[in-house]
């Protein structure tokens, strides 16, 4: 019998992009493979090291301003993430990670910093005219109705960011969804996140895959093909009901 090789899940620079619990996304993906009898390997890529080009899924999380700049510079130095994506790998980038894989984002000192340019979006403190005060930091529960073509149920999460993100001309992807509660990208279209090929960017912490297992399974099918259905863990259904209840009342 041929044993399929393990699905490799890269957690990029967890010491820089791991401030908001997003490392949990790696745990969720790996467990959802293992519970289906498949092999999974979490590859932690320490900051300062070259991002390996041979992983199947790449995860980037949220971080503080200076680490975010450091992460962007580290990934720009070698192009392995872009090579991996053109070779069919998937990416889930959250918050600072989402900003970093775009074209540009604001550094802590207010300057505009170059991102990795994996998706055609740009992030700023504000897209208002320069004389208008910048919008307040977006902090709180967030609920997103996914774009219909994704076939996903409602997304629950927590957002905590100062940036606003919008597509650049020529952007070929779709929004991850429409914001029902919260801020998300903070654009007039009231969207959060993008899906462009197999790359997902979003502002949802939570971690997003822990609260939204269907999104985890979507990523897994992109790199693995169809998967056997996984009923559970039942705790997630209870959590999603509790969030729906709390946020409907809130």
């Amino acid at each position: 019998m041929i044993r399929p090789s393990a699905t490799r899940i890269a957690l990029i620079y967890p010491e820089l992009l791991g401030t908001y619990g997003d490392g949990g996304n790696a745990i969720v993906l790996a467990q959802r493979l293992r519970w289906r009898g498949l092999r999974a390997e979490i590859v932690e890529v320490p900051a300062g090291e070259v991002v390996p080009a041979d992983c199947d899924i790449y995860l980037l999380g949220g971080g503080e301003d200076e680490p975010q700049v450091l992460a962007a510079d580290g990934m720009r130095r070698n192009r392995s993430l872009l090579r991996a994506v053109s070779g069919g790998a998937a990416v889930l980038a959250v918050c600072a990670g989402y900003q970093v894989i775009g074209a540009t984002f604001p550094a802590g000192n207010g300057q505009i910093h170059d991102g990795v340019n994996l998706i055609d979006v740009e992030t700023r403190r504000s897209f208002e005219p320069p004389d208008a005060p910048p919008p307040p930091r977006a902090v709180g529960d967030i609920v997103v109705e996914p774009s219909p073509q994704l076939g996903l149920p409602t997304l629950y999460g927590y957002e905590n960011h100062g940036g606003r993100t919008r597509p650049l001309p020529g952007f070929r992807g779709i929004p991850l969804g429409t914001v029902r509660v919260g801020v998300g990208d903070g654009t007039p279209a009231r969207t959060d996140g993008v899906v462009d090929g197999k790359v997902i960017g979003t502002y949802l912490h939570g971690p997003v895959l822990a609260q939204n297992p269907a999104l985890a399974d979507l990523l897994l099918t992109w790199v693995h093909g169809p998967l056997a259905p996984l009923d559970g863990p039942r705790e997630v259904g209870i959590l999603r009901d509790a969030r729906a209840h709390a946020l409907a009342e809130g």
């Binding site: 401030t19 908001y20 949990g24 503080e64 200076e66 680490p67 700049v69 450091l70 902090v139």
Partner: protein, 416 residues
């Protein structure tokens, strides 16, 4: 004989102190908390300079950190107590009003051991000009407040450059703390350990990645771990200014011995011998209910109450849980405003280490904790409250690990 005042209080401050007394008394009588906040708040509103007036003419020490403030302040208050009466905000009200209340009553020249919130430290220390400031650690806490860890280190660093006569007792194992302490006029460097390094991977000075090995941390820019003069040498021993001394306290775990080492190093600046300081610290079995065993529920269960409000605190707690034979553990988890609204941080905690013991979950965000444990493959049950969880435990004595508001509520229910 009356205690001589070092300086006459202004009429405005005397009025403020009278108002403080009234408000604190009324608040206590009405049962609204301990009255630590409201009285101090009113006093500072009437006389904004009152904190400086009641605080600056006495020998004081301020304790600040993400974790361990309350315990270290308590240990320090005991050590300073060997010299005479000590003022302290032992109730944990650690912003300016809480400090104000702690210092509001005479004598106005007795020493004080004060717990101060990280962000409030500059304001409080500028007013009272402490003799010693203790800086323990900085780590992620209450993610929704975006209190970036480096920003806290930076404001402490600025403060040190201003307070020219204040000594800092600082933990060399936390790069953020060490960097913050370098501007102070004099440092007592203590190796208090750091079992949570994820928030100190980047150099606070130049934003390069820090290098680490068993003996410390350093950066290419030249920032490096200072050589400590005091360190925890093992469970029950300290290296103390060049000699090895036995050091046992009753609070459990290495983390509390480190807190005691910090407190003893601070007390030395007040003339307290280390042996006397440690002897005075022994006998503290609980701090604000932490580590204390209380009856829980109505069927004879006993609970040891433990507080863990962020990943660093949980990692310490795992170590402590594993010192004893595995008991059932109740996790009481909330995400109210004072806890931080974002519960994502539980995914940074290695809950896999709880497998092998009975785990029972409760609290306002029990569902989030339950999902975390499911993915960690830790079997557990979910209950409406800690009492119901304890009732379902298969041993009579359980450990309860709660975060901030869960702990506070539990304490009210179990010690009323």
């Amino acid at each position: 004989m009356t205690t001589p005042l070092p300086r006459r209080l202004t009429a405005r401050t005397q009025l403020a102190l009278a108002a403080e007394r009234l408000a604190s008394g009324a608040s206590r009588r009405l049962g609204r908390g301990s009255g630590e906040m409201i009285g101090g708040k009113i006093a500072l509103r009437i006389s904004p300079g009152a904190l400086a007036e009641v605080g600056s003419n006495r020998p004081t020490a301020c304790v600040s950190a993400t974790n361990g403030k309350t315990t270290t302040t308590r240990l320090l208050a005991r050590a300073l107590g060997t010299l005479g009466p000590v003022k302290s905000n032992g109730g944990g009200a650690n912003m300016a009003p809480g400090v104000m209340t702690a210092l509001a009553r005479p004598p106005y020249d007795s020493p004080a051991a004060l717990e101060v919130d990280e962000i409030w430290l500059p304001k409080v220390a500028r007013a009272i000009v402490p003799r010693v400031v203790l800086l323990l650690n900085i780590s992620r806490d209450q993610l929704d407040r975006s209190n970036e860890t480096r920003r806290i280190a930076a404001i402490w660093r600025e403060l040190g450059a201003e307070l020219r006569d204040t000594v800092v007792v600082a933990n060399v194992d936390d790069p953020l703390v060490a960097w913050a302490a370098m501007t102070w006029s004099r440092q007592v460097w203590v190796s208090a350990g750091q079992n949570w390094t994820a928030d100190a991977m980047v150099c606070p000075q130049c934003a390069r990645l820090l290098h680490r090995n068993a003996s410390g941390w350093w950066c290419e820019c030249g920032l490096a771990r200072p050589e400590p003069i005091v360190s925890v040498a093992g469970l029950g021993e300290l290296m103390w200014f060049g000699r090895r001394i036995p050091a046992r306290i009753d609070l459990p775990g290495r983390v509390n011995l480190a807190n005691a080492a910090m407190a003893a190093a601070a007390a030395r600046e007040f003339g307290v011998e280390v042996e006397d300081a440690l002897a005075a610290m022994r006998g503290i079995g609980d701090v604000q209910g932490r580590y204390q065993e209380v009856p829980l529920g109505h069927d004879g269960h006993q609970a040891r109450l433990l507080l863990a409000k962020n990943p660093a605190g949980w990692v310490e707690m795992m170590e402590l849980l594993n010192l004893a034979p595995p008991r059932p553990v109740v996790i009481d988890f909330n995400s109210q405003t004072a806890d931080g609204r974002d519960p994502s941080w539980i995914w940074d905690v290695p809950f896999e280490r709880l497998s092998g013991r009975q785990v029972l979950v409760t609290g306002g965000r029990k569902e989030d904790m339950s999902v975390r444990l499911a993915y960690a493959e830790v079997p557990h049950s979910v209950h409406d409250d800690a009492e119901a969880a304890a009732a379902a435990a298969n041993e009579k004595v359980v450990d309860v690990v709660a975060n901030y508001t869960a702990f506070r509520d539990l304490l009210v229910r179990t010690t009323r």
